[in-house]
Subunit: 425 residues, 2 copies
């Protein structure tokens, strides 16, 4: 009576949007990469030696030792999030130029969830999302399920005119629904948008009346130099207020305190937050209550100290990485010099293919990195790659980069790859 | 230069699907309802006196005391979920007739997230979801963002023919993409599908070749009588295997151990799980790592004990509730006699309107419940209501039901409500 289901039979059952939910080759690759014996510049995860383990343990014990807080920590809670944590975030945002109120804040399960919620709330199929190229791979994954087209932002000097973005969006069958940027120490490039580029983005957003999604995941990790105000702060400084702001700010505790608790936040105008609270309710009711309470205690006790410690720790690694690149890389290779964050971005000679390089690098040298094309919405950037300096030590960095540099030198000598494998630009 | 954004200006920026993301009036109401002084039969949350606080505290301390587990607990982790927890779930599922493998399991942030993922994966706009009426409100919220139409299942005796479901779906502009049921101690009715009804659902699903989403949130909370096998177990017993099964099983630790950690799971054929892992990755990367490790320790140490304790605890409350209803309710009122779970479902005389009753009940008696129409996809059921017996004690239940019964008696005397407010059936 029951018809057996073959594996393939699931495909026609999926929604049209499932077409766009592709396995990230990179993420699949990373499972293989982060293995003992491999020198990994691949994953962009925080160094666990920095985790405030003692504070975390004390905070869990303190929440669970008091029957009242234990009862609420183990219970369902409001979709908006734990009020004292939202109040801490209000103070934090005030300190970086974003005066706001607890009703302007919703807690999310990391900033990845914030991006997914915003894609779901804003994108109809055929709408346009403006992104840089390259951009954060996880943002492309979050947005793509909602079937947008992408158009390219070049905020430093090469944005298109508002009219041409709008016209392209119309031809694509929708509107420009938002611009997404990681303005500080971006994943994957490590680069930071200048104040002029931030202002230019605000002008574009005002002209076409679309929101800017500001992903501030790495913003606290500035090693040196003066911090630029968030785009949201610049917008408010133009004479608005948070409730008149177009910018939607996505923050997270993942890079400074701990990603394993999955706590991030969104700050935006109240009407957007009210919508996002509904999205949150339908998605998972609330982020883990006990973790929000613990994160609040950890933020109060240790946020500033952790930021200082992380900056010192990653600054040394960044310096080792830049020194090793300068020491070993052949002519024709260039890279970014980030003032913060976890990444540097390498451009190889045009004829080099970073995916082929990775295969050799793993086989012959035991060195892992992420090929750059994964971060482009259109598959460009085959001669680019991302290096994370968050985990390896000085000797490992030097040895890994030396091995990689030798392979790059060899690849730059070999005949160019066939046309079908070349950079799509 | 910047155009100020007025509040109303956000509406046109949202995706078409945002139309369907409505505030749950009920959920808004619940914020007001669960207040001190109110006798609440409204929220369907577990009684915090049952939370295994000591085990939770020990588990957090043990995870965070060992540097290796602390480092991984506070770190990102795989989207599939913590392997030992998935292995525990494999054993648990084996024990209820679902032999499966760890690759058939993905961890979710509660079963609410499972429902949202399945809506996203399966529903294109205009597709049909078959649901009971009434059904779990949170499922309607999760699915509705993906713009389905709904058609009604009556698994006990009144399903439509496969051909008529299929024809209605075609006319609606799509296909029947799944049937969603809470087969054991359903939210909101407390009722349980008979083995015959379960088999009938499997026949229908086989005939039209669609998956069944089996929401087992309350399945462990059986107070008496013999447990029926899960629909997924019945399907496998028909001669298939988990990888040939159409049924997608959603489980959760929320009702037995703690909802505040947000840990649930999906068990299904491997191809579906692989897709859901991608959805998970794009949604929030992974559920809180430390909570998965803690939930694993708690499940090993305390799951069976907690089930036994919860059943005893809620059985007494169920008995008090049924006794109070029998003692106080006037003629013409009927209610379900659940063998488990947290809810009973009350049908008032046709002329009674449960929303109006709630207004009076709050104002005059300080008694809260959820009007039943919230649980119908088409707004039916205005003379129904849901009572949760999970929180109040014996005296409170008796007093609350007595007060409510008096108001019902009065409402049944008054003239019928005007046509526009009457039951839509």
């Amino acid at each position: 009576m029951t018809k057996p289901v073959e594996t393939a039979a699931w495909e026609p059952r999926y929604a049209a949007r499932a077409e766009r939910m592709r396995a990230s080759e990179i993420r699949e690759l990373l499972k293989v990469l982060d293995q003992p014996g491999v020198i990994s510049f691949a994953g962009g995860i925080p160094d666990p030696v920095l985790f405030p383990v003692k504070q975390a343990q004390e905070a869990y014990v303190s929440v669970l030792a008091d029957p009242a807080t234990a009862g609420s920590g183990l219970q369902y809670s409001t979709s908006e999030g734990y009020l004292p944590l939202r109040q801490w975030i209000v103070r934090h945002m005030g300190g970086i130029g974003v005066p706001c109120h607890e009703d302007n804040v919703v807690i999310t399960s990391g900033s990845q969830q914030a991006l997914e919620f915003l894609g779901r709330l804003l994108l109809s199929p055929g709408d346009t999302a403006l992104v840089t190229a390259p951009t954060y791979l996880g943002a492309l994954q979050a947005f793509s399920a909602y079937e947008p087209r992408y158009d390219e932002l070049r905020p430093e000097d090469g944005n298109c005119t508002p009219a041409s973005y709008a016209e392209a969006a119309r031809q694509g069958g929708g509107e420009v629904k938002f611009a997404y940027v990681v303005p500080s120490f971006a994943n994957p490039t490590g680069e930071t948008l200048s104040p002029v580029a931030r202002a230019r983005l605000l002008d574009l957003a005002a002209e076409l009346d679309f929101p800017i999604i500001e992903d501030a995941a790495y913003a606290s990790l500035r090693f040196e130099g003066e911090a630029f105000p968030p785009i949201q702060a610049l917008e408010i400084a133009r004479g608005g207020s948070i409730d008149r702001a177009r910018t939607i700010y996505c923050g997270t505790f993942s890079k400074v305190l701990s990603p394993g608790l999955r706590v991030g936040w969104i700050v935006a105008a109240k009407p957007v937050i009210r919508r996002l609270v509904l999205v949150k309710q339908a998605s998972d009711l609330n982020s883990a209550t006990v973790n929000q309470m613990v994160m609040h205690r950890m933020a109060v006790a240790a946020f500033d100290h952790q930021v200082a410690q992380a900056c010192e720790h990653y600054r040394a690694r960044r310096d080792w990485m830049l020194a090793a690149l300068a020491r070993h890389m052949p002519e024709g290779v260039s890279w970014t010099k980030p003032q913060g964050g976890l990444f540097t971005w390498v451009r190889l000679p045009e004829e080099c293919d970073a995916e082929r390089l990775l295969e050799r690098s793993l086989d012959e040298a035991g060195v892992a990195f992420v090929p750059g094309s994964a971060f482009f919405f259109d598959g460009r950037g085959r001669n680019t790659l991302r290096l994370s300096f968050s985990l390896p030590g000085e000797e490992e960095i030097d040895r890994g980069i030396a091995l990689l540099a030798r392979l790059v030198g060899e690849a730059a000598q070999v005949p160019p790859t066939p046309p079908s494998r070349r950079c799509g630009r």
